[in-house]
Amino acid sequence: MRAPAPLGLLALLALLALPQGALADPDPASPAGTDQSPGSAEAPPVVHDRAADRFWPAAAMAAAEQAMMAPAPPYAAMKVDLAEYQLGAGADRWRWEGEGWAGDVNRLLLRTRGEGAVGRRLDEAEVEAAYARAISPWWNLEAGVRQDIRPTPARSHAMLAAEGMAPYLFDVLAAAYLSDRGQLTGRIEASVDQRLTRRLVLQPRMELNLSAQDMPAERLGAGLTSAELGLRLRFEITRRFAPYVGAAWTWRSGRTAAYARAEGEGAAARSLVLGVKGWF
């Protein structure tokens, strides 16, 4: 195939002009150096031998390569999301919720939460141990067990959960539990941090508790058993230590509310909360 004459002439002219031409101005007719388009040569096959073995003891190279390729040591953190004192209509209460993890893409997870009236036995206390695996940049899948310590008689549960960050930066935890008596319950928590200033953070928080069946012994009805809404304002003295004040509202619903009323308790409660959030 012949190049059209004008194009060839242009190329020739460009070639002639090159020696005294401007140093840098690219000439589209005859690109040079880095202005040229890449060809489509095949890549050579991937090799795994070590070139350095020809110069240094192969055993020492192998050990050094292994050290370089060693997986990172596990990372770990302990977080306290809620550790608070609640001032409400009845007795003052306290409550905690926190977790610790170790690993990276695969994690070992320990979670605990509980609450009770000050000076009395705890109403609720539970511990969870789970394996968590990253399934996307934002979500972890968790499988594990939960042991209730209070109320008694203590129950054990199998747990399956998704935890992560939803669009609009909501931190979400959705968990399903199957107890040793075959009862299915669930819990959904969501919160979002809104920075008012660099250190002052307002955190709306929501929690829904669900049950697939009536559980008279636990005073829980089928469906939505309770909902909680919290609004906490924390001051980050450091990113890892932030005292907060806030308010929390809880509602029991449906038959769960009826159980509560039958025992002389209100179906709704609200409290002022004072606490600390942090991690280390």
Partner: protein, 557 residues
Amino acid sequence: MKWPDVARRALLRGGALAGGGVLVGGGARAFSGPPVVSGPPVLSGEAITLRIGRGAVAMGGRMARAVAINGSVPGPVLRLRQGQMLRLTVVNELAEETSLHWHGLELPFQMDGVPGVSFPGIAPGASFTYAFPITQSGTYWYHSHSGLQEMMGCYGALVIDPAEPEPEPVLREHVLLFSDHSFVDPARILARLKADPGYYNHQPQTLADLLAGGKQAQPLGQRLAWARMRMDPTDIADVTGSVLHYLVNGHDAADNWTGLFTPGEAVRLRCINAAAMTFFNLRIPDLPLEVVAADGQAVQPVVVDEFQFGSGETYDVIVRPGPRAYTIAAETMDRSGMACATLAPAAGMKAAVPPLRPRPLLTMKDMGMAMSGGAMGPMKMRDGANAPQVALGPGVEMISPMPQDRSGDPGIGLDQAGHRVLTYRDLLAAAPNPDPRAPEREIEVHLTGAMNRYMWSIDGRRMQEAHEPIPMRKGERLRMTLVNDTMMAHPIHLHGHLFELVTGHGTHAPRKHTVNVLPGGRISFDMTARPGDWAFHCHLFLHMAMGMMRIVKVRPA
């Protein structure tokens, strides 16, 4: 690294001595006529010994732990001559393995100094002799390639004088080695980032910003759009001035390291970014900077008022100061701190230090989106079809849908600096490129990550999980195209090679060893493969440690 009590006391003693040295170095420097190279001690010749051991660096009146070379941070300036042989012995006085890598030198790969790639490393108590010819000239540097020692101060400047004297030599010159250092152990910094990736970002967007309006904050609609994508436009640096101190030749702003000159003369400043985690915006208010070399390679002089450079890059600039003091201001890209020094006709002088400018915000362009404004359209932020080679795992937060050639951009946050800011496209090699062949093929490499998990990788795989070397033939000419699929800038360094940036300058392409790939950007370079195994990685050390690294294996054709 463990610091037993005895060693700690020795360290503090050493620190106090170093502190005394700071006073001599910073305040009462003797002026002994040109040419003067101030800063750490200078070593020359064919036989050099460097001892790597524990040391300390003074910052704000306190001593921080360091890994020192011959007791100093930075290590000695190695002043060599093109054409000489170098026999350099490194003695390891640490309790852990160490190494030195010669950043930007085209040397035999087995002398390149990367443990596990080019040699076995230097065991505690052992020594190793590097021996190689010095074939190039210019401003380079050297640093440890073991663990996070570089982040603890194990680096120094490497200046090579040309074999043939320059026709119009600049007699006065100073090495300006910029670095970052922390009182907090690098491993702890990494652990914090793993637990809370925004831990060191002390300039997040707030409701107060939103109400105040202005450039400091996105308007509500844009903010919601970014929140929907789970992206943070203020995530410009992982590790910031909240934990790092910024140093010039090992001195913080309070030390006021001073480079002396005689008014009226030209001064060559050899600027080296040896920081582990920091991009700097370098300027000297009231003094234009004539850029004459990039990464040690002479370029056609270009006059600017400011330039941004990433870890591993070097620039030589010539300034012509008048009879007064000037502040060398190296502000961090995220505007959380500044490395400061002074250029003055006499010691003890000082000029006004410019305030930190407001921190910039990332834009849609940094996300690899073409258009301006907030409209998202149907563009998908994580569409595997846009990068079939990338493993779309939990460590890949996004795939730039439309990565741009950003070689004409001045860097993050300098679009509206109000003065001349260097871009890669401004750079033209002074001499024709040595290999004008067309590339035989192209390799596309995607820089990937998930800030949310503090994971960094290439093509979606951390080096530790997929040891997939990049194969090349010895002597082949090829084009490497880097695509940044993250929201951060990455200075990418290829060991043992000087490559030509593809910026439309034909056979006068600027030659570099480290290229900054802006977020949402793509950039290409042509290279001629040199035999051996070479490290290829992001020069932000924590990114490299997390796996944003590959080995390039060049074998005979």
